[in-house]
């Protein structure tokens, strides 16, 4: 059965759909230039669960839940659900932690960097340059034989674990729904103000998440892969989806009156060029070493990839560390220990990249 979404036009279409829907989510209530941000949203989920207590970023984001479940549906429908694990999961967990730490220094994952650019946020240029730089370092390791080893097929229920966890989160969202003005509903934390208090209606967020999850699984959409394949092979297949997202998000923002060009005063953003670059560089390197951008990791997890699932959990834990240890940035700039977070992160990624190599024949 031919996979139309895996074609050139397919992935351009997927990029377009995401590029249109993300600004729409913003229009319907998501934070500025944050219609979709895998890092920010997983961080918000960490907050909702009480893993950190940063009051302005606590909300169980249905988009993330939708990504995993939408991918699961697509995988089953087209017989691509392949439960698999075993490719150095502990390393992937750690990569997830540092990918999130890096992303929160920039205040966005690659998806948000693209959306910020499409919203006129000049700071995203530094972020995207940093991302490319980090991915480039990753390609150096790849060319030198870096690999985390092969996965192995496993029980179907192993592949179901993260989808079930996401269903559990969804259940919590329904059992303890948002009560406006209340910082807690049952066991879930809810921001009363700040980005965590800004969200589109649950049903819309979930529906968009499911659709994107479905399309992204079919098309193998990956923002890190786009840059990696361009740098490593001069292949533009994934990159065409990347560009399509930016172009359509830009057009949608113009239509919705959400485009505001500049560096200062951009929503949930700071103007420290060096740290925007460095944060995304660390994130890019971690994504490259882990084989996928944070969105891709969610879609892989939906397909049954238990290693990707571990990366996702690493990102959520990384978000908790970031806010508990002052590693995360704010619109005022880098956090009190952000630089230390970056230094440790790069050291760890270097360690992983250099020591986990197969010497080729």
């Amino acid at each position: 059965m031919k996979n139309l979404f895996a074609s050139r036009w397919g992935i351009v279409l997927v990029g377009a759909v995401i590029g249109i829907l993300a600004p729409v989510l913003q229009k319907l209530g998501n934070p500025g230039n944050m219609g979709i941000c895998v890092a920010c949203m997983e961080r918000d989920m960490a907050g909702a669960l009480g893993l950190h207590r940063a009051e302005v970023v606590q909300y169980m984001r249905p988009e993330i839940i939708g990504f995993v479940l939408g991918s699961l549906v697509a995988a089953y429908l087209f017989k691509e659900f392949r439960p698999r694990v075993g490719s150095a999961p502990i390393v992937r967990f750690v990569l997830g932690v540092f990918a999130m730490i890096g992303a929160l220094v920039f205040l966005g994952c690659p998806w948000r960097a693209m959306l910020r650019l499409a919203g006129g946020d000049g700071n995203a240029i530094l972020g995207l340059l940093g991302l490319a730089f980090g991915v480039w370092i990753g390609t150096l390791f790849l060319k030198n034989g870096y690999t985390l080893g092969r996965t192995q097929s496993t029980y179907a229920s192993v592949g179901w674990i993260l989808p079930l966890i996401m269903l559990g989160f969804l259940a919590l969202l329904f059992v303890f729904p948002h009560v406006p003005g209340e910082p807690k509903s049952g066991i879930l934390f809810y921001s009363v103000k700040g980005p965590g208090a800004m969200h589109a209606p649950v049903a819309v967020s979930l529906a968009v998440g499911l659709l994107v999850g479905f399309l992204a699984q079919r098309s193998r959409f990956c923002t890190m892969g786009a840059l990696r394949d361009l740098i490593l092979f001069r292949h533009t297949h994934l990159f065409s989806g990347f560009v399509s997202l930016i172009v359509f998000a830009f057009l949608t923002n113009l239509i919705l009156g959400q485009f505001k060009a500049g560096f200062e005063g951009q929503p949930v953003a700071h103007t420290q060029h060096l740290w925007n670059f460095a944060g995304m560089a660390l994130a890019g390197l971690a994504f490259a070493l882990a084989g996928g951008c944070p969105g891709r990791q969610l879609f892989l997890a939906g397909e049954g990839d238990g290693d990707a699932a571990v990366f996702v959990l690493g990102m959520i834990v990384g978000a908790a560390f970031s806010h508990n240890f002052g590693l995360a940035s704010s619109p005022q700039g880098i956090g009190p220990h952000g630089i230390a977070g970056l230094v440790v992160g790069f050291a760890v990624c270097l360690f992983i990249g250099l020591t986990m190599r197969k010497k080729t024949a």
Partner: protein, 55 residues
């Protein structure tokens, strides 16, 4: 690895074994970009066996 093999020896005929659907699509696309035709793709083990031919 496929691209390396093609660039090294420019073989007439090549068999590539891959583990995932994504790799299958990547290899097919890469082969075609180098002027090869995908002759046959068959499931093998948990992955696929891809036969590509020059021209």
């Amino acid at each position: 690895m496929t691209l390396e093999a093609i660039k090294k020896g420019s073989p007439q005929d090549l068999i590539v074994l891959v583990d995932t659907d994504t790799s299958r699509e990547n290899v097919m696309r890469a082969a075609q970009s180098q002027g090869y035709t995908v002759q046959e793709v068959t499931p093998e083990g948990e992955g696929y066996r891809i036969h590509i031919v020059k021209g």
